[in-house]
Symmetry: none
Subunit: 227 residues, 4 copies
DNA sequence: CATGAATGAGTTTTCATTCAT
DNA sequence: TATGAATGAAAACTCATTCAT
């Protein structure tokens, strides 16, 4: 079983070295409020006034807590990437099987994503905005590490015979990474919402097996649910 | 073979009934320029001045051709949706097999998407902006038809035994539709770019069969390439 | 005497129910400045920059206090109409004689007009602009009440024999209402200016008796000054 | 009877000396179209594009006929004032009785006004705009002549005992001139409209006699209708 | 004469940010 | 910490006017 090959460790709290944030209660609360708005409409499309309104203060007052709107964004994005990268590194470290590693990456990423919805929306909506600024250079760095990890696991799986040998590793990475990010951006109406585990299982099944009915119900076949 | 079951017809030029656009040479050129910018940065993030700069005129001069920035967006979006819906309808009409219909949908959508890159970026970046305005009500209508079509084909495929019967049709639709849209939003550097047919084949393979090596090399198995 | 039949009450401060205006010192001052400009040149012909200049700030800074130029206009117009209507209602309520009621209407209107010069200029200059917008629907409503009041008093006076029975009530109303509004729009150079009571007495005399020398110096004749 | 004392002459076509207008058919038609729009919304509030639209041409094409929007206004205003002044001069010349002169002034002005609705609206809406420009200096000149004429007739009537001797001539002039202009600015819905003679009679009656029922039906009393 | 395309100065409005109180 | 008032740069849009064709 996949899980057996993977020594799952709980990710330690990522050391947020990036910003020297005087993490007060109030401040953290404001970041959360801002994040909710960013998650809905994106970073640029959200005004500081809207953030202040949500907090019940005036827009100017936000500047006692942050020196710019961007520094709020910075805080959210770096926290997200710290989390995600920690998950990727742990998956690679703890799993010696590429299929298991990818499953672990998907699961840990999904967890990170659900806790950092704002960050993802920001990356999707405002990538061109952030990636152009030196302050956010770490975004590109992190993306490169993520790509490297995926490609390595996919190539390894091809060599080991687990994955189809006609896979284009980089193309598949791009598709899978983006696929993985899709559900997070869904603004779900509570009633119709799918549960996270529903989604992640659906995703894993899709990724590994596609939508087609298996040709032969081969007994050795293991789908993502058999855990 | 999939293609056999599908009476592929070339899509007739979609009658642009939606907007009575007095299409002049210059005007069409300006829409194209604007579209390129929208595709890169989104609709809101693109200023009319940038569009005008690209055209080598002053921003105010754009209003000789359009009565608002939004009407440029309108033109792009409605043209896109006309094309996409035409493709969906043709696929359903011409294919009596859900697998073939979906393959046809994917192929026609991909073609439409590659010709309307701006539209997709706009929908992804600025959905909340557009969908809130009465003028763009047709966006919601079109999306509903798209969803209906996917769900119907998936359900039919489940009943006919072609697709796994544990598929959640709506969840799968959301995933597949978004997956389909992914590659279009990639701003590719020419050198590294994948060809469209590479991408669409990769996608179809992924959708139908996943990334895993087939358990048994069943002879009746048909992958997306065997056409 | 006219005044005898009229139980004059001081108009209570009109409850400004219409707009929930967060009235600050500064804000009120800005409205006054804007009003002065509107009174001189009309609403549309006055730019926000001129208002800002008058206040010694930048045009954008006005939007800290108002969300649009129109909302300044709204504030001025609704305050005016509240006042005017209060005067009309009080006149009808307190006077049981149409001649007295009309005199009272003229006097209260004149007072209101002199305090709201901007509003009148705006109605005269920019009626087509305002009356077309849903936001200013109350303008039409108020005008209808004003017309109804005049016509009722004139008709009543005709029945009671106080007014000529060949008066066309609606025509006379239109003339008298507009006549009443005339002097307010005069931008008077201080030196040549007439006093308000001079004007209102001149007006009343004109309205009731015309300019012709009375045929017979009838002893029972009462002119508007004999109060 | 008033009319007896007044030797009415038809006003000769005013020599339009002001602008060297190559009065072509087309041009005159355009001025009329523009005038209709100015009459409805004022001069500034009407755009050249609206004028061009009304004429079925593009806005730029107007400049083949006029060198500026203002020159259209000039044409309308000067034609109006030529007519009005001609009427005033004729009235003074032909009538030796101030009451008759004023009646004649009212009647000729009314005729002129009904033929030049645009001009009046322009003067009322855009007086500050025009009166500030050297090009329109003749407006002030004309107004002065109009004032002089009224005041002279009123003073003369006071001396001759026809008018109340407590009349303030200048105040009364301002009131009467503006009163006279009122009905012209009414944009009447055809159904409810009053006929011009209805209005002018109502006006004259009002001016000379007011709205009050005559104290004694003195036989020598003459109202405005007894012609 | 008219078109089609453009100019350029001006309009209202937005918004991140600053700062004295 | 928060307020209230402001800045300044940029946004979308308007409009009289020009001019080559």
């Amino acid at each position: 079983m996949a899980a057996i090959m993977c020594l799952v460790t709980t990710a330690k709290k990522a050391s947020r070295a990036s910003t020297a944030a005087p993490a007060s209660e109030r401040r953290a609360h404001l970041v959360r409020l801002a994040g909710d708005l960013f998650a809905e409409k994106g970073f640029r499309a959200t005004t500081v006034r809207e953030i202040a309104d949500a907090a019940g203060i005036l827009s100017g007052s936000l500047y006692h807590h942050f020196d710019s709107k961007e520094s709020i964004g910075d805080e959210i994005l770096s926290a997200f990437l710290d989390d995600v990268l920690a998950g990727y590194r742990a998956a690679v470290r703890d799993c010696d099987d590429p299929r298991a590693a990818i499953e672990q990456i998907v699961r840990s990423s999904t967890a990170a994503l659900s806790q950092h919805r704002a960050a993802l929306t920001m990356l999707q909506h405002d990538w061109t905005y952030f990636s152009g600024q030196p302050r956010f250079a770490y975004l590109r760095t992190a993306m490169k590490e993520i790509e490297r990890t995926w490609v390595q696991q996919l190539e390894q799986g091809k060599r080991s015979g687990q994955f189809r040998d006609d896979l284009d590793a980089r193309l598949t990475y791009r598709l899978l990474r983006d696929i993985l990010w899709i559900p997070t951006s869904w603004r779900q109406r509570p009633a119709k919402a799918w549960r996270t585990d529903q989604i992640v299982d659906g995703l894993l099944r899709l990724i590994f097996d596609g939508i087609t009915t298996p040709a032969t119900p081969a007994p050795q076949r293991r789908n993502a649910r058999s855990r």
